[in-house]
């Protein structure tokens, strides 16, 4: 008997979906906009995340060694830095490499290059380029380096300068941290407001669709139908709206991400949203269809409730 009831409920929902073509069309349209917004925010999250990561990757702390620092002590310091949990990468640049890099950077600046040639010898010390896992961790890394610097009481310190203590470098790091954090918080707020608004609009559309059936619900009550038997077909209808709207949204994203893929790949930290979409299609499918189905079922469930009170 339960199977029979389920069959009847499903049939009634599908019939109502097809017979109320205009209401179904309008509901699907509004729901598609909602699900599209949800999808866009998913993509925006990926792009923003990668762009912020790219920005964060630009931050580093440089340790400049004295010109006469022995290589084994510098490599020793590199190893102890790598052992720190906050550090993600340490790059060692020997004096020669530092000079080559300096020349490369100033290849169009003849004046500097000729001044360098005048000197005859390499004026640069070796450099350690330290990258932290998070911008906020540079402070403790710099503190560690400072300790190393002052601990070398036996001989002169091999560290000439730590650029974290340059006011300009420090300010830039702090600013970068502030910008990335604010961008993250702002995006979260915008996404939350956007999703809530479109969900509310969808919710209201379904409520209006069911409002137009309120007399029908009353009649069903009066001919002896139980609450569940009345409510369930509306929920089936809501789920169908969600399913169709979800499929349309997933379909729209295919050409859209293909079209935008190249641009996002070049501009935002190398994420091509088309390949990202294809590689994570199952994830998008679950979120978009899941949101649609859940929204349709919940909105219908709640909207019918108020008319069942007779």
């Amino acid at each position: 008997m339960k199977w029979l009831t389920a069959k009847r409920i499903f049939r009634a929902g599908v019939l109502s979906f097809s017979r109320n073509a205009f209401v179904s069309f309008a509901s699907i349209l509004v729901m598609t906009v909602t699900l599209f917004t949800v999808g866009i925010t998913l993509f925006a999250g990926v792009i923003l995340g990668s762009a912020l990561q790219e920005l964060r990757n630009k931050a580093d702390v440089n340790v400049y060694f004295t010109q006469d620092a022995p290589e084994d002590r510098m490599l020793e310091l590199k190893a102890s830095l790598e052992a720190l949990p906050e550090v993600s990468k340490v790059e060692y640049l020997s004096r020669e490499e530092a000079l080559a890099q300096f020349r490369e950077r100033h290849k169009n600046d003849q004046l500097t290059l000729s001044a360098l040639d005048e000197l005859g010898s390499n004026p640069l010390g070796a450099v350690l380029n330290v990258k932290a896992k998070d911008i906020s961790q540079y402070e403790s890394i710099a503190a560690f380096l400072k300790d190393q610097q002052s601990a070398s009481t036996g001989g002169a310190s091999i560290i000439d300068k730590i650029n974290f203590y340059d006011a300009q470098h420090r300010a830039a790091l702090e600013r970068l941290q502030y910008i990335t954090n604010s961008a993250k918080v702002l995006t979260e707020w915008i996404v939350a407001i956007l999703i809530l608004t479109t969900l509310a609009i969808s919710f209201n559309t379904l409520r209006l669709a069911i409002y137009s059936s309120r007399d029908e619900i009353q009649v069903m009550r009066l001919v002896g139908a139980g609450s569940f038997y009345i409510r369930a077909p509306f929920m089936v209808e809501g789920v169908l709206y969600g399913l169709v709207a979800g499929l349309i949204t997933l379909l729209i994203f295919y050409p859209l991400t293909w079209w935008l893929g190249g641009a996002t790949g070049n501009f935002f930290g190398g994420v091509n949203i088309f390949t990202y979409y294809l590689n994570h299609f199952f994830y998008f499918f679950l979120i978009i269809i899941g949101t649609g189905v859940l929204l349709g079922a919940t909105a219908s469930f709640l909207a019918v409730r108020r008319y069942l009170k007779i």
């Binding site: 008997m1 029979l4 109320n20 029908e216 009066l222 139908a225 139980g226 609450s227 009170k309």
Partner: protein
């Protein structure tokens, strides 16, 4: 079978819809409730169907106090009472067949029963050829006959017809009343509310006359006297 025990209904604005109404209906009776518009006839029907609660008094159906039934169980009561309304109240997106089948499905009847009973009951109200028509494709009289078919298909103990001829022409009115009489002859109790004098005078059945929420007459073989 049905017992109204000193039922009053006073709305929030102090307007009185029913005042101290008491009467009982025996099984198999055909009882008409007459009165001008606003006399309280529809409120009476709503009380019986548990659509509205009385301010004081009780309504009993087969010794059960209708207003003590929890909302989740009200559907069981309504399946025992077939209802016909002035405005037909058919489901607009369902065909004549589906409208009647819906009442049977709601009562949990089997598919085979539905397939055999629905065409049969539509034949009874002379609409065998309109089985797949939607309500908007039917005339008022035809819609009301579908509503009657829906009301009787679950073989309820009582049919409540609230102004069933209010929107019909004399020919359709006559037909609807004839169908109700036929159903009553087969043993079903009928509670009819109307303000159609012709219908009442021809019926020659029990008539309760209401005025401003009160029962002013209860005649065994009554006429429309107001």
């Amino acid at each position: 079978m049905i017992y109204f025990d000193r039922v009053s209904k006073i709305y929030a604005d102090n307007s009185v819809a029913l005042e101290d109404v008491s009467f009982s209906v025996e099984p198999g009776e055909f009882i008409s409730v007459v009165g001008h518009s606003g006399a309280g006839k529809t409120t009476l029907v709503k009380m019986l169907l548990a659509e509205e609660r009385p301010t004081t008094g009780s309504v009993f159906f087969e010794s059960i106090n209708v207003h003590e039934i929890p909302l989740s169980k009200v559907c069981d009561l309504r399946r025992k009472i077939g209802t016909v309304f002035q405005d037909f109240r058919l489901l607009p997106n369902k065909t004549a067949y589906e409208n009647i089948a819906f009442a049977m499905e709601a009562a949990g009847r089997a598919e085979a029963e539905i397939r055999s009973d629905v065409p049969h009951v539509l034949e009874l109200v002379d609409l065998g050829d309109k089985i797949n028509n939607f309500p908007h494709e039917l005339s008022g009289g035809e819609q009301q006959r579908v509503a009657i078919a829906r009301a009787i298909v679950n073989q309820p103990d009582v049919i409540v017809a609230d102004e069933p001829t209010g929107n019909l022409d004399p020919v359709n009115t006559f037909e609807v009343v004839q169908i109700l009489k036929k159903i009553n002859d087969l043993g079903t109790t009928i509670l009819l509310t109307t303000h159609n004098k012709g219908v009442i005078d021809n019926l020659k059945k029990r008539v309760i006359t209401m005025d401003r929420g009160k029962v002013i007459r209860d005649d065994k073989e009554g006429k429309y006297i107001l």
